[in-house]
Symmetry: D3
Subunit: 311 residues, 6 copies
């Protein structure tokens, strides 16, 4: 049974993803939990009163749990009164039922990306990119591109990269001064550190590495480690590391160096442009023609207008 189908007063017994757990204490002194549950149809809050220590081990953020509960009405919203929970073998469940996926089929993304790697001419660059995509293949094709805001779903990273690859191709045709191999490799590598920055079953929590190092430095070091393994020590390694480090474009957004090659500058713009178009589209899809969207925090808190007559 799916969250979107829950009805008031019914009793449910189904697997749900625990996405957040907050501890509380009742005035009686008894501990209770406020838990946010998730599946790929929606989100619902729940309360577990008089928690037993064993239950604290079961209801952990990022775990899929078998939940027995009553659906109640609290201040005009549905809520779960959790009666019991049971640990579930995390490998026996299909994570795809609990977290959203993008619109583009994975196989299509895979083809776009593999074609791009094949299209690289430079021997060293191709070797580094291929090695990283071989080593981390599973993670790269499942990771989201961000914990929230844009491409925040299963396969989001690959979707973001595939979108940028197309843009990079178009841009190389319009501005022939750009080195196609460098720019394509920059697109493919710029965010690979996300696979270590984000963790949890749902891949949307920051890991310790993610918080203390950030995906920019993780990605950059992965490039160097791979070059070490392959024994590559050419200028191209420095140029790739530079593109990774500078792709946020500004110090205040976490790039320790500013773009100093034309490909690094182009990479920054393509990345930013894809993220922005994707975020605005997501908001406009929920907005009626002739109205303004909700405010988008990561775009300077702007609301976007959807013109009358837009479909």
């Amino acid at each position: 049974m799916r969250i979107s189908e829950f009805q008031k007063n019914e009793r449910i017994d189904t697997n749900l993803l625990v996405s957040q757990v907050l501890n509380g204490m009742a005035s009686s002194g008894a501990p209770y939990l406020t838990i946010t549950f998730k599946d790929n149809t929606g989100t619902i809050d729940g309360k577990l009163w008089d928690v037993k220590p064993s239950q604290l081990e079961i209801f952990k953020s990022g775990q899929i749990v078998r939940v027995v509960a009553e659906v109640i009405d609290y201040r005009n919203k549905l809520q779960l009164k959790v009666l019991n929970g049971e640990a579930v073998d995390q490998n026996s469940v299909d994570i795809g039922e609990f977290i959203p996926r993008g619109d583009v089929p994975l196989e299509q993304l895979r083809k776009t990306i593999e074609d791009a790697i094949d299209g690289i001419d430079d021997f060293d660059i191709k070797a580094i990119v291929s090695a990283i995509y071989r080593k981390y293949n599973r993670e790269i094709f499942s990771s989201p591109a961000a914990a929230r805001n844009h491409h925040e779903y299963y396969g989001g990273l690959a979707t973001h990269v595939a979108g940028m690859l197309k843009m990079a191709d178009a841009v190389c045709q319009l501005y022939p001064i750009l080195n196609h191999d460098l720019l394509i490799a920059g697109v493919l590598l710029h965010d690979v550190g996300k696979i270590r920055e984000l963790g949890g079953l749902a891949l949307t929590e920051y890991t310790l590495e993610g918080k203390l190092l950030g995906h920019i430095s993780i990605s950059q070091t992965m490039v160097q480690e791979t070059a070490d393994e392959l024994g590559i020590d050419s200028e191209a390694v420095t140029l790739l590391r530079h593109m990774v480090l500078s792709h946020h474009g500004e110090y205040e957004y976490g790039s320790p160096v500013l773009p100093l090659t034309i490909e690094a500058e182009a990479l920054h713009y393509i990345d930013d442009f894809d993220a922005r178009m994707t975020m605005i589209k997501k908001e406009l899809d929920r907005t009626r023609p002739g109205e303004f969207s909700s405010k988008v925090l990561s775009l300077g808190n702007r609301s976007f207008y959807k013109p009358k007559g837009s479909e």
Copy 2:
């Protein structure tokens, strides 16, 4: 005779464009002028001692003047010791000999732009764009896109617009949520005010309107005036004015409103991207592989690296 051919100690008698005039006073109390002359092969400084009042009327910034002078050597650079100057009928000269042109032939630019206008479906939008391009045709195809930095030459505005039109087409294919008519019209209209912002025969001086109003406000008002004349009062007019006003993307760059439609956001990025690629290319063209370019003031004073092995 062209500036690039001037030799030390020779006497020249040729037409030159006066691009700057500074007044000085010798210790004897006699006034003198320091004049910068220009043609499309280069630039040279000159001095005119013991100026007569009539000469002050002849040597004016933006004028083409017949100059009689001696070429001398001053601190290892050539300089003109101006002996005399004579007013020239400004309509009898070919301005193209005095200011640089872009690489793309005008006819090709004209075709790209006319095709883009033809491709607009929306009746009101097409009417406004067509009317403006008809009314200001000559100015739009001769004006530079900026006084310096990028596209700072005869036809620069049209070159900039044509480059952006191609990018806009590519972007509309990759992000189908974008309204093609609006984005194309935004590209065509965003900088039309440059034709009033910049003036002088060489079209690279700011006019009073340019300094006190800026091309953003001039362009926006031109759109409204044209809509008034055509009796168009639809939402499209507001959307076009909004794109023009917001295309610099930030208050600090002179946009009084931030982009609030997805087309306005896209227009800002395409404009910025074309300007940046063009500025960096201009610098890298003068830089040897394996070296850093000069610092580019309008790109945060960065120097750009040209990788070894670049052609």
Copy 3:
């Protein structure tokens, strides 16, 4: 019956201005509305349960509606349980009963402003200002000067302009270098675009034009359109447009150009000074001597101290 007189448990049947409407959905799936009602004595929230589609058309933001409701007590505050609503002919009601007015009588404002226009000597400037005040007379004398913060009431724009005119007169006497005609015209024109920026019956909602263009650009274009109509093309038009564009004084406050004439600089200061004095006064009027006011968001979140012994 007025909002300030509502008593718990009584039933009311009276005209009220709908100032905000929020949609909700009860857990039963039935839609309900949370409506904020207003008259010139106060504000009260209401709930309309089990909304019928026809009611959605009646309770619209900016409409005056005949409301039948019960006054109830909800968490120590009065609230309306709306029983029914009925459309009202908007022209048959006196808007003045529903929105607040300023302290200065309209006739006095009108005289101050008309005297100022009469006092302009320059022919072109006087023609432009007169034409705009003739064309938009009704709107200018009813519009607020802002949606909130200061002069946010019926006639607020005229009150703000009249206050600034007096200050401008004083300043011209103390600094005779100022061109009186330009400064007075700047005061009269700087905010006229507010009449299109703000809309709704209560004139305190931003229109689409207001949000996408802003009153600065609207005002500036109105000046140019009027000059077009009058066939005036003198430097004065550019100077007036410049004063309008630059009167916020900083890019980050939405001025696309900074003040570049002494009159533009003075206009910016007089505008800012009047707004600040008015905002602080409004807060201090609600503060007891020896205490600090509430924080004023638009003044950098400062609280202002009212010295002991102030009346």
Copy 4:
């Protein structure tokens, strides 16, 4: 003989104010001085070769010195080749011959200021202001209001204060909520610390106190010291100190607290307005109608336009 009358090749023997001294060393190892001399008609540079130690004691910045020199021409500018210098009894000379004065006669300034002090009703406030103006009378009426930019001349502080007093009077009439006594006292006291911040005979060099403490803190402490001496301990003392401390209006301009009373806010605006009008006027007085002034560094490097037809 005055600087404005110096002629090439003549020998001069006259008193001059030394406004700056720079040490140099010739390649022979011999020390020389580059000295800037000043009187109230102008400024001229000079060189003193092969300096003797005794001369180092004579040519000191801020001293009036009897100078014997030849007027020579160096790169089209007049310069002094200093032959000798002789110490002069500083009390025997009229400093007014060496530094510029303002346009308003001192007696008129004195009257404006004394009337303002007389007009204060509050006993404590009047006592503090009177005591400070009595104690520092000579310095207050001779000090400039700044080392450069505006009111940078003998009597400049009093001129600035007198101008602000008139503005404060006008403002109090237009905004009756303002406490006249506080605002007038704020105007009179806000810059008194300038008399210790600036020193040298010409009163345009920063003293050690000036550099390490700044006139804001010096002024504020002078108010407290005077209150201590008079045994005044009322809230008015805190309000006066607050106005002094906050009158620059922003932390970045050296105010350790922001204005938190309406009088402090008004004082800041009046001070800023007077400084700005004075600076722009000074530039426009040197600019021809229809042209832009030089850039004004302390006004954000703007150039101001002087409209055609301005006198």
Copy 5:
């Protein structure tokens, strides 16, 4: 009876510190108070319904009051339903029971500080510091160093100063260029104005002087007043005042001048370092190893990680 021991449904009758009072009005029109009570074991909110005017005089922020109340449960938190309150002779209570104290015994702090004063060699500096510590001895040893964030307890100022004195000693040994007397005196004097900036019995409310002047200006003026009293007028006074004024290191943090001596720069760093280490330690003490602390607003809203294996 202490707040930490309160139980649901019991009746209490005990002295409590009133730390905050908010006025409300029930829908019946009757006024009520929301009061925050405090002792050194915790904090609890209370409601007093149907307030009598005499009670308004008793329940005032900063007062210790004898409270009779019922402990109730409101939304899972304990709350007081206040039945009555009675004024208490503020001198008869031990303030130490109501506000927290630091870990270091007062006598130890006193010794560290007195030794530091004894260790000053310079006669003038020692005289000024001694005089201030003699005059304000009681306040200096009881005042907190801040209203919140760090050292926000009885004796906090002395604790902060003592910690900085040790750091200053270490720093003087490592960087012998530092003048030990100046730096030690700077540490001792930099925050003395806190004793006037903060007030209330609990010494954690800002006074009017504190809000309008700030502790930096208060401290600086105290140094000058003391120098006046002692008849000291040497450069050392200016240097001490400078260190006090500049110790926040940046204009935006309320320093009207930036550090311009090496001792002023060192003082700023030692002060900042002690505050930061103390704030982070306070948060980490509440954080489990392997987890992140709460966000610390005054440290740029960062959360700090406590490594696994930390005690």
Copy 6:
């Protein structure tokens, strides 16, 4: 013969370090070079006229060259008229004669640093630090800590690290919450990337890696590479990488993450403090008591005052 001993009109023939080379072209069209020469006694400019291609290969920045030249006087400064130059075997010269050294003997620095490494208890941390100091021993003890500003000499990096180690020890005693092993390792590792950031014989030019990656990212990756080699994968590696990445303390100074452990915060402060004290001391050493130093660009362009009576 040393630069400090050069006399006008003498002929010199000695080895000099070429620190900068600029190309010029005489009006005759002949190329010439402006070369800055250096040894550890000073700096002198030279001109080489009518350059031969072979000479272009000899006079290269960073090379020690045997120079034959005449010492001439140009505008009161000594200059070399270079007659000839000859390549020198770079390994046969003592670089110590051409670049300055610090005051602390290398052996003392080596001991301080080795003792610090020995004092680390944690096995993993010690292993990583030891391995890096073993691998890069020669570079670490010869590299400067910066290209200019502070510790910009042979051994400067080791001098900076040794100074910080002492400060870190003192700080750990005063704030026992700090993990001594982490902080000491942070000091030892934070700048090791400088050995790749800076290059040239004189070790004061930025390398390509230095410009495109920066020493922060280089250092961080060196830590990871070393951990890879040693097979260490504990939390300590992440903590060390975090300290390296965050030690500049602000995004705008090139740290891609802010300090999120107390040791990272302490490291940032100790680094900054040592750099600041060293820079100010360097300036004050050249300043007379009672005067202000030159402006220090990297300290916000401040001048520092050296009190009267300082030695």
